[in-house]
Amino acid sequence: MTDLPGLAADMCLKCNICTAACPVAAVTDLFPGPKAVGPQEERFRHPRLPTADDSVAWCSGCGVCSRVCPHGVAVTEINVRAKAALAQQNGIGLRDRLISRPALLGRMGVRVAPLANAGLSNPLVRRIIEGILGVSRESPLPPFSSDTLRRRQADRIAAQPSDTVPATKLSVAYFHGCSTEYYEPRIGELAIAVLERLDCQVILPPQGCCGLPLQSNGLFDAARRYARSNIESLGPFASAGIPIVGTSTSCTLALKHEYRAILGLEGESVAGVAGATLDFFEFITLHRIAQLNRQHLRSTPLTVLYHPPCQLRGHGIGTPAMDVLRMIPDLEIVLSEAECCGIAGTYGLKREKATVAHAVGRPLFDQAHDVHPDSILSDSETCRWWIQNHTGLKSLHPLQLLAQAMNLE
């Protein structure tokens, strides 16, 4: 998609297009902007000397800069690597090690979901957590589900691999990610239902956390372990020509791009998985349009504000959900103007970053206030939780609206 970071600093013309697009630089003078901490400072970094730049820590990793650069400079990738180097140098604290492991937290949390959820929604508990760990008490921590997606789908999993896949059905490997598994299994179930309605045979391959939160927090070695494990599980599907479909735009971006461009993994398997991975709506628009056209979509006279997550835009495929949503009768779609809602993965959870994160999202919150939609749609779970928390408006995955229109909800 963009040139790998090795060539990046050469190709930067210092034009500031990325600086003008950066949602963090727009709200704080603590961040000099992606051009400055990326290709500009890269010329002053030495692989064997300590890094001298603290201000790169303010980069949220949202990816807008790489996307808008007309020269293909991999600005985000440079910044993410620089942030990781800085984090390694300064030491990575307990908080970052915890919040970057949603699978671990999820496994613990689902066991004691009611208790955990009560605790995490208790203001006193949140204050204590903020004090000890530095997780902002203003930032949403999603409630744990009491059972997981895979447990609900145990029968399906037991029946895998299916020997008889009818010729009319397309096999699809579903990468559900941690959020669907531990926090929102309902969304996973709807995704499966929609895909099956569109004549897919849905498989749930063994999988682990995509590792993106670890990468964002500078824990590259741990991220690579998760990545290699996923490549091992998903590789056979890619080789068999089976699409790997995901409903979390950050997970799919990790599989498509970050494993190679940032974690530096190489090889046929990694490339194969990257090529086979598709965002949910990307998959539908590429492979299931004929089937979708045959569906009777129920009239849905609602107004929705659709916020394409920054990671989705980072895929470089535009916003395929819009093509599908436009097929739903009577649905009024307002498109978000914001480049980033502010959460940027785990960035907005951090006490010291929360004010900036909120300021980044403010234009979106204002737009939501002005439009006052029935709901806000976003393909990324962290965006949904954050936006719902800060606007008070219900936030849904666009596939939930599709499922509703297909009478599957």
């Binding site: 998609m1 963009t2 034009c15 500031n16 297009i17 600086t19 003008a20 697009a21 630089a25 727009a26 003078d29 603590l30 961040f31 000099p32 902007g33 400055a36 201000s55 790489s66 996307r67 808008v68 650069c69 007309p70 020269h71 293909g72 971006l253 599989l255 498509k256 791009h257 490339a271 990257a274 090529g275 991975t277 590429l286 835009r313 980072g314 895929h315 470089g316 495929i317 535009g318 916003t319 819009m322 093509d323 498109l335 103007e337």
Partner: protein
């Protein structure tokens, strides 16, 4: 399958996308990154200081204006003005008019259409004025403006020093940062109070172009009211506000009218194998994960020249068009690409594709390379936009004609 796929997100590509989509075509725009609007003054240069029907007629045959038809400029610009005024951005000027505006260096920028906030400073209109030096803002020098404008025929301005409020920033601020502060009405009101004593008695005050990004009209109106004077803006180092305002307006208009926007991916052309090389089938984009095909009935190249990679110039003397590898007219000797004076005409700046009156790239013999491939804007050869002052005029006119041709309609 989209009706029209446009490659390039500059002024040309965005304008074409809006025209096509508003006309009802299913339109997709693919771009590796954003275009050069934020690097520009936000005005529409047509032919520097010589815009007249007679002058346009005397241009050489291969000039983009001749190919697209200078007589079509009126219609193209009318569309442009409808779009900008619909988005709340007022432009002033005319195809046959020249506005001479001050630059941040104290030079003169001759243009045909300028946003209202810039146009107020046109030579001939302004009598006495003052230039504001914003304290601590490194990207504008009132002193350079003062010294040099006087030598350019403008009345000599006085200079007033104006503070910027708030804590001392922890980094240098760009024009863009200041503009976002001006968008904040509280900050703005406080600032007006601080400026008031310094601007008493002034009638016309020029400041660097920082007067708001999203709320530009409101910013100017409220400041003029509080300070009791008229304000104008001078564009300064990129990212420029007049450029950003226009770009945001065009992008928003495109999205609202249903344009499918794919940012961040380089496009490679796809030829329709079944057409015997006669037609293009769309493009393949280098998306995250791998290539994605976007089939299209027609493709419009709005990829610009050498700045953003529409043309790629190699060390070995070859210059290539980067999407479909359409042959480009150029000298094979690298030494001939540039001239001695950095501020003078440069041969490379005129290199590009040859097109016919329908904006189809054609060979030297005039045969179109593909029946459904079009080109507009900086990718077309035949004019050094910087020294001729033709950039935006060519962008708008050729985009307009290309969309008409591609859709087979009169807009």
């Amino acid at each position: 399958m989209t009706d029209l796929l446009i490659v390039g997100e500059g002024l040309c590509g965005l304008f074409a996308a809006v025209l096509a989509s508003q006309h009802g075509a299913d339109t997709t725009l693919v771009a590796q990154g954003r275009g050069g609007l934020s690097l520009s003054h936000g005005c529409i240069d047509i032919l520097r200081d010589r815009a007249s029907a007679t002058t346009l007629r005397t241009l050489p045959q291969g000039h983009p204006y001749k190919l697209a038809g200078g007589e079509n400029l009126d219609r193209a610009l009318k569309k442009f003005l409808v779009i900008t005024s619909g988005g709340g951005l007022a432009y002033r000027g005319g195809v046959e008019e020249i506005l001479r505006l001050p630059t941040a260096l104290g030079g003169v920028h001759a243009t045909s259409f300028a946003p209202e906030s810039l146009a107020r400073a046109s030579l001939g209109e302004i009598k006495s004025f003052t230039v504001g030096a914003l304290e601590g803002f490194r990207d504008f020098s009132a002193e350079l403006v003062r010294r040099n404008l006087a030598r350019s025929g403008f009345p000599v301005p006085t200079v007033v020093s104006l503070p910027l409020l708030g804590d001392v920033p922890r980094r240098d601020l760009y024009a863009h940062d200041l503009a976002l502060r001006f968008d904040d009405s509280e900050w703005r009101s406080e600032l007006a109070r601080a400026w008031k004593p310094r601007v008493g008695g002034l009638r016309l005050l020029g400041v660097p172009a920082v007067l708001g990004l999203w709320k530009h009209a409101e910013v100017i109106a409220s400041l003029e009211d509080k300070l009791d004077l008229t304000l104008f803006e001078i564009p300064t180092l990129p990212p420029t506000l007049p450029g950003l305002r226009l770009e945001r307006l065009l992008r928003r208009t495109a999205l609202v009218s249903g344009v499918r926007l794919i940012e961040g991916s380089r496009a490679l052309g796809l030829v329709d194998g079944r057409s015997g090389g006669e037609r293009v089938a769309g493009v393949v984009v280098q998306a995250a994960g791998g290539p994605r095909t976007f089939p299209s009935d027609a493709v419009l190249l709005a990829t610009g020249g050498t700045l953003h990679g529409g043309l790629i110039a190699r060390q070995n003397g070859r210059i290539l068009e980067s999407v479909f590898d359409i042959p480009v007219q150029h000298s094979e000797s690298r030494g001939e690409w540039t001239s001695e004076r950095p501020l003078g005409a440069q041969p490379f700046a005129s290199y590009g594709l040859r097109v016919n009156s329908e904006m189809r790239p054609v060979s030297d013999e005039g045969a179109p390379y593909f029946a459904n491939l079009y080109a507009a804007g900086g990718i077309i050869g035949g004019s050094d936009r910087a020294v001729e002052g033709t950039r935006q005029g060519i962008d708008l006119l050729t985009a307009f004609r290309a969309v008409e041709s591609a859709l087979g309609v009169a807009l």
